[in-house]
């Protein structure tokens, strides 16, 4: 387990980190109104009377938002509270039409849970469990636009009332890497569950980063909270900067002030936003417009039944049932879209070769990771934009599996497939790339190679075994890569004695 430390003038310091992640719930409409939630609409195009807090308007909970939050809770093995309640958090701001945010302070929908993280890729077995204190659902605020008019600010209420899950961790993280791994893992789970798209650059996932420092073994220090950090890298930068700053403050005789801070992505630093003294008194109280939220067993069963296989379970299955390496299993399960693509490829590949999925899993995984990913990367494309479909991929793998083409020819064929979108068989036929397994032709080629390199043959026979690869290469070259490598090897071995 990592024991990340900051070296200060007075010795080592430990960082204590807790994260509050705001994740926008994937739903067609807002938490308490029927208005749409799509990203990027014209300002104020998605505002209902409720979102604009017109007189006499009332909130009605959106079942789908509640369902998504419950499914998320189930995915992190959390306590689901069948009785929860909405509270009002009162404060004035121009982006908050009601003058209060409907949230859940006293009785959240989801209680304690946990997720397992791997802070260091190089130590995949070093798993750390991070506690999650609660998940509650609440309304997002609107957005102020300060660049539309020289002296006035404009208000866009499209986001006003959109459902957020606030996922609150325990202060269990001790290094920037752990925090980064936590956010990445959480995002992975949310995407698997389908309860949040996890697009941090669009603001659908944002982190409030709580940081304090202490001498190892001491009590918790005073924490600061840096608001609305919107990438994994920024979360890690925030922690590095904030921890170093706090150590400096303490070591130069000062005290860390409990305050809210802002992260500046340009400089990678944080600055004070408001201190505890100017903190709002939010006057939380139960929202009298809403009844307590009571979940019945049928609803919970439906939520549970709709949960997909989660990343850890999937990775474990890839390793055990499919026999993939831990690395390959991790890569293929990193995000749900890749896993879906791989599983579709696997089905087609097994079918094309008449084998079980377990029998072709390694071939499919290796090809996907080392061939297709690399090729797409060169084209600057993601898997979702791949011109090669899983059916095409399976066809190519079947040609290799049956010995019709060699691995190196398969690389050429893949390039052509990416260029033209054609199927593998058509390309192999047209270009005459079928592998040569005729021993006569191979023998002839081998004889020529041995005759042309008599000196090397001598050296080989004199004990320089490493030259074997040279002869293989020369033979394959002479046959334009179409010689069956196994047959080439056998014949070479015989002829070299």
């Amino acid at each position: 387990m990592s024991s990340y430390r900051i070296q200060g003038a007075t010795g080592e310091w430990e960082i204590v980190i807790g994260l509050e992640v705001h994740a926008q719930v994937t739903s067609q409409s807002k938490l308490f109104s029927g208005a749409a939630t799509a990203f990027g609409a014209e300002p104020n195009a998605q505002v209902s009377l409720v979102d604009a807090a017109m007189p006499g308007m009332l909130p009605v909970p959106n079942r789908e938002c509640i369902r998504q939050a419950v499914r998320t809770g189930m995915a992190i093995d959390a306590q689901i509270n069948t009785w929860s309640r909405f509270d009002r958090k009162n404060y004035f701001y121009a982006d908050l039409p009601q003058g209060y945010q409907i949230s859940q302070l006293y009785h959240p929908l989801v209680g304690e849970g946990a997720i397992d993280i791997v802070p260091d890729d190089k130590q995949p077995d070093a798993v750390k469990r991070i506690g999650i204190e609660r998940i509650h659902v609440e309304q997002d605020a609107g957005k102020l636009m300060h660049d539309q008019h020289p002296t006035m600010s404009y208000v866009d209420l499209n986001r006003s009332g959109v459902a957020l899950m606030e996922i609150v961790s325990r202060p269990d993280m001790r290094s920037p890497a752990e925090a980064g791994a936590y956010v990445a893992k959480l995002r992975q789970i949310l995407r698997y569950v389908g309860s949040c798209d996890g697009n941090m650059d669009q603001g659908s996932m944002r982190c409030d980063v709580n940081v304090s420092v202490r001498k190892p073994g001491d009590e918790f220090g005073t924490r600061t909270e840096t608001k609305n950090v919107n990438s994994v890298r920024f979360v890690m930068q925030t922690i590095e900067h904030e921890a170093a700053r706090q150590v400096d403050v303490i070591e130069s005789g000062g005290k860390v002030v409990q305050e809210t801070r802002l992260f500046d992505p340009g400089s990678g630093t944080t600055r004070s936003m408001r201190s505890k003294e100017d903190a709002h008194d939010y006057r939380y109280f139960p929202d009298p417009d809403l009844l307590p939220l009571v979940l019945d067993e049928a609803f919970l069963d439906d939520c549970r039944a709709s949960l997909p296989e989660l990343p850890d379970a999937k990775r474990h299955r890839y390793e055990t049932a499919l026999g993939l390496s831990p690395y390959n299993a991790a890569v293929l399960t990193a995000d749900v879209e890749t896993a879906r693509w791989f599983e579709a490829l696997l089905v087609e590949t097994a079918k094309a070769q008449g084998k079980s999925e377990a029998d072709v899993a390694k071939q499919a995984a290796n090809w996907l990771i080392s061939e297709l990913f690399g090729a797409l990367n060169k084209l600057g494309k993601g898997l979702e934009e791949s011109p090669v479909t899983h059916e095409n991929g399976a066809e190519l793998l079947a040609l290799v599996g049956k010995g019709t083409i060699s691995g190196s020819i398969a690389k050429q064929v893949l390039e052509k497939m990416l260029e033209t979108g054609e199927g593998a068989t058509a390309i192999v036929e047209r270009e005459g790339l079928k592998q040569e397994s005729d021993t006569g032709a191979i023998e002839a080629a081998v004889d020529k190679v041995l005759a042309d390199n008599a000196d090397k043959v001598e050296q080989y026979r004199g004990g320089k075994q490493a030259l074997f690869g040279f002869f293989v290469g020369q033979t394959m070259k002479a046959m334009q890569g179409k010689g069956n490598p196994q047959v080439v090897n056998e014949i070479l071995k015989t002829k070299l004695g």
Partner: protein, 494 residues
């Protein structure tokens, strides 16, 4: 033609249906009364004679075509200006919403129009329904049509539904909507010699009703008799998916089931309602009510509601707490008044807008509410008040194990003169002492006129029932009404 305005809801509807007169004749008669009384009584903030006529013409056309008519076909009514009405200014009697014209119609008003009613106008009220005398309206006091004999002093029509009560008593409309948070239907009904019922909390949708205190606010009808109230209430009630606190229950046929026969019924007299210093006349009318109910066949027993004395302080914590939050949306950003001093920032705009837009009583309640919800005070006030509220509700539950309805006075006095209580908010709040407990418990309760005091001013009796038992409340009220034979009406001076 003026006799038409003496008719109630049922009589108007039936007269139109049978062709004795047309809906347009009725609308015109009431429109004329509204216009003639406006200067003297100030019962309406906006009159909408064209709306009343339009609805009437539609009803007449339907009848001519032989189509089925709604249960309120051709009945012109007044709409308390707390209900949002599409295309018609909706102010809650406040400056901050002056000129606000909603693009939507409240559920309750829509149901009334669907039943065939027409709108005579938007009725004046205490600002944001906060008040018991209609003296907090930005649009001026409503003057009761009643006078003390030999005195010209203007009297309070009660509040907050004071425009509604004054208009009905003065024959400006046969019925009106009210809203009741702590007595705002029942107390004005008592002050003006008319009837009004606050149904079970959740029976009428709050959607489109400007909120005062969400957990207490409840729309209800006001009219001149119990039957008319029942007809109105049936039209106004029903489950509304747009209001999460709406009752998902079928609306019973209250009107058809009205019965003044109380044989086998038990009536409870809560001993804690005999408050100190209550005028002897109130006591006398209460005793009279007991006798009438016995006469109707009911058994009368004394019951105890031990937490009654905590009801007012509890109410004056919970209602302002909710109001302080509900009224935060009036901030000058999106609609209504905006006061933006030269060079002002957002905070300055809030302060200026809200200082100019809210009257003193509204400000007082926002301050009280903000205080009781503040960190450090929340548990001592709000949490405690919620606990007491639960105890008050339990008192009623226990009482209703023994009895079917409760009988109490509606208010501790007859109508007072305008200005009499205005400088003493506590004295004003005491007006609600008999109405607030049932509001806190969400129970149906009705006020019916029972007689006149020595000065010739109306006094009301209140019937409180079990949750969802509007029928029991209406029936006991009908028994009182039949025996009281209340026919007094204010002498026309306007």
């Amino acid at each position: 033609m003026n006799q038409l305005t003496d008719l109630g809801v049922a009589a108007i509807r039936d007269g139109i249906a049978s062709g004795q007169f047309s809906a347009v004749e009725v609308a015109e008669a009431f429109n004329a009364n509204v216009a003639a009384a406006q200067e003297a009584l100030n019962a309406f903030i906006v009159a909408t004679p064209e709306k009343a006529l339009e609805a009437a013409q539609a009803v007449d056309a339907k009848r001519a075509a032989g189509e089925a008519l709604g249960p309120l076909a051709g009945v012109p009514i007044g709409m308390k200006d707390l209900f949002a009405t599409r295309g018609v200014q909706t102010t809650a009697a406040s400056h901050i919403l002056e000129g606000f014209v909603p693009q939507y119609e409240s559920t309750v008003s829509q149901k009334l129009w669907d039943a065939g009613a027409g709108m005579l106008g938007k009725l004046n009220l205490d600002q944001f329904a906060m008040g018991s005398s209609n003296e907090t309206s930005y649009f001026g006091n409503v003057i009761s049509p009643w006078k003390r004999p030999g005195s010209n002093a203007p009297l309070a029509p009660g509040g907050s539904s004071g425009g509604s009560s004054a208009a009905i008593a003065a024959r400006l409309c046969p019925a009106a909507t009210g809203t009741d948070t702590g007595g705002s239907i029942r107390q004005p009904a008592a002050f003006t010699g008319i009837s009004g019922i606050k149904p079970t909390y959740g029976r009428c949708s709050r959607w489109g009703v400007v909120a005062f205190a969400s957990s207490l606010d409840q729309p209800g009808p006001m009219a001149r008799d119990v039957t008319d109230c029942a007809i109105m209430l049936e039209a106004m009630s029903g489950f509304d998916p747009k209001d999460s606190t709406s009752l998902d229950m079928a609306v019973p046929g209250w009107t058809a089931a009205l019965s003044a026969d109380l044989k086998g019924k038990k009536v409870g007299i809560p001993r804690e309602y005999r408050v100190e210093g209550m005028p002897a006349e109130i006591d006398a009318v209460w005793e009279q009510g007991i006798a009438w109910l016995k006469d109707a066949g009911a058994e009368v027993v004394e019951v105890s509601l031990p937490h009654t004395k905590y009801a007012l302080p509890t109410y004056y914590i919970i209602a302002p707490a909710e109001a302080s939050s509900n009224l935060a949306r009036y901030d000058g950003v999106r609609y209504g008044l905006r006061d933006l001093p030269e060079g002002a920032g957002l905070q300055d705009m809030y302060a200026a807008t809200r200082a100019a837009g809210f009257g003193p009583e509204v400000k007082r309640r926002i301050l009280i509410g903000t205080y009781v919800l503040s960190a450090g005070f929340y548990d001592a006030y709000y949490t405690q008040a919620q606990k007491v509220r639960a105890l008050i509700a339990r008192d009623f539950e226990r009482a209703f194990e023994q009895v079917d309805v409760l009988l109490t006075p509606t208010a501790p006095s007859a109508a007072f003169a305008l200005g009499e209580n205005v400088d003493d908010p506590l004295a004003m709040y005491l007006n609600d002492v008999f109405t607030v407990p049932s509001s806190l418990a969400g129970l149906p309760a009705m006020s019916v006129p029972a007689g006149l005091d020595a000065q010739g001013l109306p006094l009301g009796l209140q019937v409180i029932g079990r949750a969802f038992d509007e029928q029991g409340v209406l029936n006991a009220s009908l028994a009182l009404e039949q025996r009281a034979g209340f026919t007094a009406r204010p002498e026309k001076w306007w």
